[in-house]
């Protein structure tokens, strides 16, 4: 799912400068599920505004919708509320914010920095990146472990010389993606796969902005 990080209050105050009535919109999609931008987090943000020197003067209305990346949901749920506001503070990922922005005539501002596509480890309460949306998936060849995401150099044929005790030279706590792949393929009895040298990736699939037929 899409992982985000809430912007610092100071930055939000800057982007909301001069706005009197702000509609804070939570998104109950990815960011809601990960407790980063759902209805509760929208309420919490409004409550934090009340404690801020500058933002306490902003009149906030809080609502949340099922997902902000769906224009019809956004329009249905927010049209009336948006008519009353000077700006919308959207607690979605970057895609959601843009859908809200193009739906109304008032500015839609991001409450988050969109971090990555990833997963949450509940025990350590940490999010990990797992996919860079390269447009050319090779997980069937690598035991379900993505070297493009999990190797800092995105090596297609690893490991490299920076390997030390199964860890990566960039961070001694980071597992080497290619060691994980080796161990997994060994367990699956598919080590032969490593004998095939993988071609460089087709980067034409990652040119921005991308679109595709449904």
């Amino acid at each position: 799912m899409i992982i985000v990080e809430t912007k610092k209050i100071e930055e939000l105050a800057e982007s909301l400068a001069g706005k009197k009535k702000v509609l804070i919109v939570g998104c109950n999609g990815c960011v809601g599920i990960h407790q980063q931008g759902g209805e509760r987090q929208a309420e919490e943000l409004a409550e934090l505004f009340k404690l801020d020197k500058v933002l306490k003067n902003v009149d906030t209305t809080v609502t949340s919708i099922l997902r902000q990346c769906d224009k019809s949901i956004v329009k249905d749920a927010l049209t009336d509320l948006a008519a009353e506001a000077d700006a919308i503070l959207a607690m979605a990922c970057g895609a959601g914010v843009q859908v809200v922005a193009e739906s109304f005539d008032i500015p839609a501002l991001p409450a988050h920095n969109t971090s990555f596509i990833g997963v949450q480890e509940r025990e350590s309460e940490t999010f990990y990146e797992r996919c860079v949306a390269c447009g050319n998936c090779i997980l069937h060849l690598t035991g379900g472990i993505c070297p493009v995401t999990r190797c800092p150099k995105s090596h297609m044929n690893g490991p490299c010389g920076g390997l030390y005790n199964g860890k990566c030279e960039t961070d001694k706590n980071r597992d080497c993606a290619w060691i994980l792949i080796y161990n997994r393929l060994k367990a699956l009895g598919e080590l032969d796969r490593l004998k095939t040298i993988m071609e460089p990736k087709d980067f034409s699939k990652k040119t921005h902005p991308r679109s595709q037929e449904a």
Binding site: G32, Q35, E39, R40, E44, L51, K53, R122, E123
Partner: protein, 304 residues
């Protein structure tokens, strides 16, 4: 994260038969932590009523869900009446007529399973068919942590819902004298409250809000307390590893970290928030903590 099941009172008892030896001494009610929290929860009365055949719990009697299955009543009964089991059986009958410990708004629930991960009793689960959370009333011990975890406010408790707690916070704040820094202490009913209560009297600037568990402490309560004029907020919970609800004190600790970070961003000193996880009978720690906290808040001065 799956919870090891707690010892749950066996609901499969004949309440009329079990209540026969009761001579109404009231030790059960006197030793009940839930009765301390809510006077309408009265185990002795429930045993007497069972004996009289009045086993039907009225739909509006929600306090029966406050029983957390600690067995203090059963252990203390001089005649070995299985009080906890009687209450458990009455709860089964209450659930049958739709009286439940918590209500899940099915339209709001997004099936995210945060409640399921948070529940220390494995009592709440997302139904794979409907993708909506469902509570097993026989396992729920009303700790309240699921309501705090829910990102869409879909869970509301039968006892002590959000507005009730918010009223308690406001009332407690109003009752604190002007002058010394005002401290709101959220105290866990199991450990913190007993410890803090004994140290309360010499500290008139500290107002306690008794919670069923530290897991029920919503960050919103804390922000609202600060907004309403509290100078400091203290959480008093069970010592590490001794939480009655397994990991809720840990949960409160990690939420505290996040809250402190947010306060710091706002230019509010994070020292204005404290969490003390202390053994139940260690009231002296709270007394010292109240003293040092008051001193620290005096040094910090009023909130900017």
């Amino acid at each position: 994260m799956s919870a090891e099941p707690s010892q749950v009172p066996d609901a499969d008892v004949n309440v009329r038969e079990e209540s026969l030896p009761c001579y109404q001494c009231g030790i059960c009610s006197g030793s009940c932590p839930a009765a301390r929290l809510e006077s309408t929860f009265n185990p002795r009365r429930m045993v007497v009523n069972s004996n009289l055949g009045k086993t039907k719990i009225p739909a509006n009697n929600k306090s029966i869900w406050l029983c957390a299955g600690c067995f203090c009543c059963s252990h203390n009964c001089p005649n070995d009446v299985k009080v906890a089991e009687i209450v458990a059986e009455l709860r089964v009958e209450a659930a049958e007529v739709g009286n439940l410990p918590l209500v899940i708004d099915e339209k709001k629930c997004i099936g995210c399973a945060n409640c399921e991960y948070a529940c220390p009793e494995d009592a709440i689960k997302v139904d794979p068919g409907t993708m909506v959370s469902k509570v097993d009333p026989s396992l729920c011990r009303s700790c309240g942590t699921c309501a705090v975890e829910c990102p869409v406010f879909a869970i509301s408790y039968a006892n002590f819902d959000d507005s009730q707690y918010e009223n308690m916070i406001m009332k407690t704040l109003e009752g604190l004298p002007e002058g010394d820094p005002k401290i709101i202490a959220f105290t866990c009913n199991w450990c913190g409250h007993t410890g803090a209560e004994s140290s309360m009297a010499p500290h008139p600037n500290v107002g306690a809000v008794n919670m069923l568990c530290t897991g029920r402490i919503d960050p919103l309560f804390i922000y609202k307390a600060f907004h309403a004029g509290a100078d400091g907020v203290l959480i008093a919970g069970c010592a590490p590893g001794r939480c009655f609800y397994k990991w809720n004190n840990k949960k409160a600790e990690s939420r505290t970290k996040r809250i402190k970070r947010n306060l710091e961003e706002l230019g509010i000193e994070p020292e204005r928030m404290r969490i003390d996880l202390v053994e139940v009978n260690n009231g002296a720690v709270f007394s010292d903590s109240f003293d040092s906290f008051t001193e620290e808040l005096k040094k910090l001065g009023g909130k900017k």
